[in-house]
Structure formats: C-alpha cells, structure tokens
C-alpha cells in the first residue's frame, strides 16, 4: 500500500542525504521525496511517498525517527490531508490539434508557460492522480519531456503546526 509520510528535519546539509541513504541501505521503496524550508528557517519539511506493508511502514517510521536530524515523523495515510504535485510537461502540437490541446488545458486547469512553433509547455498542479491522468491524455500528442516535483502534503487544519523554535528539546546531562 502507498503511504505519504511527512517528516520535519533540521534544515542542515546532509539531512536529505541521511534520509535517502537510510531508504537505500535498508532496501525500502522510495517513490518520491521532496523537501523545502518551512515557516521556521531552521526546519525543513520532507514529504516522502513510499510503499510497503504494515510491518515495513512501521520500520520506516521508526528508522526515520531514529535519525538525529529528524524532529517529527507523521504517516499522513488515511488522514485528512492536502496533497499536491507540480508537473511541467512539454508536448508537441500541430495546427490541427492546437485548439484541442488548449481545451484539455482548461479541463486540467493547466497553464501554458511556454510556447514555440512546435511545442507547448504546460504547468499542472494537483494531486498525483490528476497529474497521472493528464499525462495519459497528453501521451497521444507526443510528450517531448517532463518533470514532476514529487508530492508535497500537509494535514488539514492545525494538527501539524506545533513545531516552533520554542518547543525545541533541551537535554542536559
């Protein structure tokens, strides 16, 4: 089963590498990983999409928690979440099918961000399934190249906003 995991990590060099290396070293599936700074510049949020049964997922969450840079791990699967992915897709067109393509852009709420004599570059934002179906529709036109950002996700409401600087763990010996 596919899982979306949100991980708050210290915004330091090496943090992404540690997470990615943990997945490869332990043979866990890593479908997508995206990372960016949060409202606290010392913390980054990683969104990881992975796949595995309950036991594997339990290990993934525990292993992520074990990393020293990790502040919080949340398995968002089944929770109320907002999930988005960005795709940039360059498709070939001809005069004869240009209006059809523009119509499809409207349906997918895609923006045309670049255009040449032969190609459109579209920007599509949405849940990964929407991007998947857009790609399927565009394949017959001929996709020149594309880039997907990987999923970013947040739970709905206020659940995740508790990790301000003031709550940092202080350990004394």
């Amino acid at each position: 089963m596919k899982h979306t995991i949100s991980v708050l990590v210290e915004n330091k060099f090496g943090a992404l590498n540690r997470v990615a290396a943990m997945f490869s070293a332990r043979g866990f599936n890593l479908e997508s990983i995206s990372i960016g700074e949060t409202e606290d510049p010392e913390i980054s949020r990683m969104t990881i999409v992975t796949e595995g049964d309950e036991q594997i997922l339990g290990q993934i969450v525990k292993q992520l928690n074990r990393l020293i840079d990790t502040i919080k791990v949340l398995d968002l699967t089944g929770a109320l979440t907002v999930e988005r992915e960005l795709a940039l897709i360059t498709v070939f067109y001809q005069k004869s099918n240009r209006s059809e393509l523009i119509g499809l852009c409207d349906i997918f709420k895609a923006n045309v961000v670049d255009i040449t004599q032969k190609t459109f570059t579209l920007e599509i934002v949405g849940p990964p399934e929407k991007i998947d179906s857009a790609i399927n529709i565009l394949i017959p036109f001929g996709i020149k190249e594309m880039a997907r950002s990987g999923v970013v996700a947040l739970s709905r409401g206020e659940q995740l906003n508790r990790h301000k600087k003031g709550s940092s763990e202080v350990l004394a010996i």
Partner: protein, 572 residues
C-alpha cells in the same frame, strides 16, 4: 558548568573540550591536516596519546577501551587515507553499539570539494555507519559540536560519532565556551519504559510456566547486570545470553544456559524452542541467534525491551514491546513482580537437556584442542579476565568454554565479524583496565590483519597476554566449505604461507613461545599470566580440521542443530 574563557585557537579548544569530557587516552596517528593539533599536543600532559601503526587499529583500540571501561573511546586521525582507514573500525563500533568519537583531520575549508591532496568525503563515506557525523566549518561551533558528539556517542543506544576538523578551523581563533546543555531537537531517547506495558509484562511472566530470559549486549551497556541477576534469581528464571550478553549473569550460575543461536548450547536452544514466555532484554533478534525467524520460539509470548525502537519488530514480531533503558525497566519490572512463577519443573527439563547433550570435544588422539586451551585459561583466571576474541572458530569456542563471570569481560566483534579486531581492541582494553588480566586470542588468519599493532603493545609495555590459535586454516570458512561447499577448501589453507609466528613476534621485542603439546599448555599459561613486564605471546598449534559444534546451519531453524560430526559424511 559553563566555561567561559579567553581566546583560543581551534587546536587548543579541541584539547580543552576533551579535558571536560574526561578523556584519558587518544588513539591516533598524525598527518598533514592535524599538524596544529599535534603541535598543541606536545604540551598536553594530562591526556595520553597512543601512537598506533594503522588507523584501523586506532578505532579498534578505542572500541576495546570503551567496551572494557564503559567510557567513550577517542580516535584522532588525519584526512583522506587516515580517515578512510578508520572505516572498518567505525562500522564495527556501529554494529556493536560501542561509544567512540572519531576526530578526522580535513583539508582547509576553501579546498573542500576540490579533490585536494589527502581529501576524502569522510562525512559521506561514514554516514551509514555512524550514529551521527559532523563537519565543523566554523571555529565558533567547535566546542558545541564536540560536546554534542560525546553526548550522542554515550547516550541512548550508544554508537560511533565522527567529527571532521578542517585544517584552517584548527588555526582559527574564538572565545572558548563549553556549553552547559546539549540542544538537539530531534534526539530524545526514551529511557523510562511505559508503565502499563511493564505491568502487562509482569502479569505475563508471573503466570508463565516456562519463562526464559534472552539477554544481549544492551544489558552490559546499560550496566544492568545486577538488576538482571536479581530478577532472574528472585524469580528463578533461566537466562540465555547472546555473544554480546555473555557475563551479564555469571556463567557458573545454575540459571545460566550460556549462549544461544548458531553455535549456542543445545539446552539454550531447546529452552528457546519450548519456552512459553520469552523476555528479550537489550537483544536484537540477530539472524545468528534466531536462525529461521518463522520457527523461532513459536510457542512463546514474546516481550522485547530495547532502548532503540527500530530493534523492535525488525526481525521477529513481538507481542509486547517496551521501549526504554533496560536497567530502569528491570527495576520497575522487579517491583511489579509481586509473585514468582513456579519454574522448578522447567528448570529440571532444561537440566535434562544439559545432561543429554553437553559440550564435548575430541581428546583421545592426543592432539591439542582450542577448547582445552580456552578451558584452561578460564580455570586459571577464574572467569575474571578480559578476553578479547578475534573472529572465527576460536571466537565461538571462547563463547562456549570461557566461563565469563562478570560483565565487560567478553569483548569481540559480534555484529560485523571483523577479523583483526582482537589485538588492537585488547590493547585498548588494557589501557583502560589495569586491575584484571587482558587476554587477546586470535586465529592465525585474523592475527595477520593487524599484526603491526604489536609495536604499540611492546612500546607501551602493556601486560597483554597474546594467544594465537594456529590451525593454519581460516577455520570457520573451512568448516563451512566442508559442510556446505563440497570440501572445496578454496584459499583457506594457510599452512604453506604462514610465517614463523614466534620469530615474527620476537622481532617486536615480545617474549614468544609455541606449543602443540597439551601437556605444556598449563605451564605456558601460568608463565604468561604471571608476566607483567609487557606483552607476552604464546602460539597454540591445534588440530587442523576441528569444527565448532553444536551448529545451526545458516537459515535453518534452531531446532535443527548439528550436534557433532561422526564422520565427514554423517551429521547428527
């Protein structure tokens, strides 16, 4: 205590920090990137620097020191090859959860990433084999980083921590301040166990008919041997130990079943197969212990206590996990245990298994046997010596025949299985512990892998007993070749290219002896144990083709033990 002070350069801050961490020894090797540190070391007389002859030796020494003393071992090596030579030792410490801090020199910050002379991305190389690693880019972060490194190495599940020190940072100046507190947001090891879980565990154990304690290195690391002994003896619950757990309960105790697993005792493995409540304490269900996991302790309700949550449900699914420090949890569990299970029948059953199938070895042909040598060492030291094994057959025979009567006496490379570990680790242990004999036992294969550290032992005149078990084979590999690879002894026979070990060792200025006669063992051991002027070496030339039994073939169930070899074709 916060220490505010005057302006110091990085190299001076380095030693100030080590003083505050109580460092006694640095195991190190100088090099270009460390010149400022070695310059300042010249005037440091309260921290002793031990010059090794290979950086791998430094890491094993630091680990031997850490495991014998419970303190943090410290390594100092230069950049590039100095750093990469530590990799095996770091991986070893990581697998066995040993607290060491490795300081590596690094090229100046402006050259990092330029493929500069003696540059290696040691952070990238060691990320998967350290608990954490740091690159100090600014001298203002040096003291707090060293503070964090020691804190991380010794707390929670201990492990190696590496600090990379660029050359220019060692020359840069700042005001020295040693932080009072360590702030690491993501690091909060759970020490106290969950009270309800502990109550549940107590309820299960109270009503068990065939309970069994399965204890690992976690008991030794958390200094919980006393709590374990009290718990086991109060409730009369038998104890089986992993290789790393040996000594947690004295081997001579009637409740001690010795080691379980691949080369464990028949009765310990039978107890695992038949117990109804298995209480795993600071042990991680390693594949060398469980064999085929689907058939491991199938009748048992499994309770697992570990400070590392990832150890739980990793290899074997358990019924009741308790995350926390085993010392705290055992104390709480003892309070909750208001009544004891009746285990007398169970203990009788185990005793019958013990009598059915004792540990035995060949004696009639007059050849010298490793088992006999180990038995003699055990008797003569009363099970109170620090015995540092290398890796292979002799390591398993030590586990079977040396009667470890206290914690921190058994030191060997359990997780990684690093040949060449014994000699340097024993040197490190001997620096840390002066009131007990320290014995290094190696096979002829492993001994060659770090033989250069004989210089370190000889120069410092440490009273180390170095025993070589020489069968002129890579014995354990040969055993597997005989049993599972059609006797294709591919590159394991060392008889034609082994050196004359007595001559080699004597050339280091170490008294050296050799025997293949069982009748000479006792006298040579007495001589070695009495010699305190420095290291002493004895080679025991043993029967060449003996095998370690009992044995559970890799991947088989631990109920499918090979007890002994009747002849090469018949296994019983």
């Amino acid at each position: 205590m916060t220490s505010k002070g005057h302006t110091l350069i990085g190299a001076e801050i380095f030693f100030e920090c080590l003083r505050r961490e109580g460092v006694e020894y640095i195991f190190g090797y100088p090099g270009g990137a460390l010149l400022k540190i070695y310059e300042k070391l010249y005037d440091v007389d309260d921290i002793k620097h031990i010059l090794v002859r290979h950086e791998q030796g430094a890491t094993h020494m630091a680990e031997g020191y850490a495991r014998a003393t419970g303190k943090v071992g410290v390594v100092l090596v230069t950049s590039g090859p100095g750093a990469t030579n530590t990799v095996t030792g770091i991986a070893n410490a990581y697998m066995d959860s040993s607290p060491i801090v490795i300081f590596t020199g690094q090229v100046p910050t402006h050259l990092i990433g330029n493929d500069a002379f003696q540059e290696a991305d040691i952070l990238g190389i060691t990320r998967p084999i350290t608990k954490y690693n740091f690159l100090v880019k600014d001298v203002n972060e040096l003291a707090s980083t060293i503070r964090k490194a020691f804190f991380l190495a010794r707390t929670g599940r201990p492990g190696p921590v590496l600090v990379d020190l660029p050359k220019d940072v060692m020359n840069a100046k700042c005001t020295f301040e040693y932080p009072e507190k360590v702030e690491i947001r993501g690091y909060k090891p759970t020490v106290q166990g969950h009270t309800m879980q502990i109550k549940k565990a107590a309820a299960k154990i109270k009503h068990a008919k065939k309970p069994l304690l399965y204890v690992g290195g976690g008991i030794i690391m958390s200094e919980a041997a006393k709590e374990l002994t009290f718990f086991a003896k109060t409730h009369r619950i038998p104890v089986t130990m992993t290789l790393q757990g040996l000594g947690a309960l004295p081997a001579k105790d009637e409740l001690s079943l010795g080691m379980l697993g691949m080369h464990g005792t028949y009765w310990a493995n039978q107890a695992v197969n038949n117990c109804d409540v298995l209480i795993a304490l600071g042990a991680r269900f390693d594949d060398r212990v469980t064999g085929k996991t689907e058939t491991f302790a199938t009748q048992a309700y499994k309770i697992h206590v570990d400070i590392d949550p990832t150890a739980i449900d990793k290899n074997v699914l358990v019924d009741l996990p308790i995350v926390g420090d085993v010392k705290h949890i055992l104390s709480e569990l003892s309070v909750e245990m208001t009544e004891s299970p009746d285990t007398e029948e169970w203990l009788k059953t185990i005793q019958a298994w013990r009598e059915d199938c004792p540990l035995v070895y060949e004696t009639e042909d007059g050849k010298l046997r490793t088992e006999y040598v180990i038995e003699q060492i055990s008797e003569k030291t009363g099970g109170e010596a620090i015995v540092v094994a290398d890796v292979g057959q002799h390591q398993m025979w030590i586990a079977q025949y040396y009667q470890f009567n206290n914690p921190r006496l058994q030191i060997s490379s359990a997780g990684l299985g690093t040949m060449g570990f014994s000699l340097p680790a024993a040197i490190g242990a001997a620096f840390g512990v002066q009131d007990k004999p320290v014995i290094s036992i190696s096979g002829d294969g492993g001994f060659m892998m770090n033989i250069q550290e004989l210089v370190t032992a000889a120069y410092h005149k440490i009273p180390l007993k170095i025993f070589l078990i020489n069968n002129s084979y890579l014995g354990m590999v040969r055993q597997w070749q005989e049993l599972f690879h059609e006797k294709k002894y591919s590159f394991t026979d060392l008889s034609e290219n082994n050196p004359d070990y007595v001559k080699v060792v004597a050339s280091f200025g170490i008294p050296a002896f050799s025997t293949d006669n069982p009748n000479e063992v006792s006298e040579l051991l007495d001589k070695a144990l009495a010699y305190n002027e420095g290291p002493i070496f004895v080679e025991f030339k043993v029967a060449r083709e003996d095998m370690v039994f009992p044995m559970v073939p890799a991947g088989a169930s631990i109920s499918d033990m090979m007890i002994k070899r009747l002849n090469p074709k018949t296994l019983v």
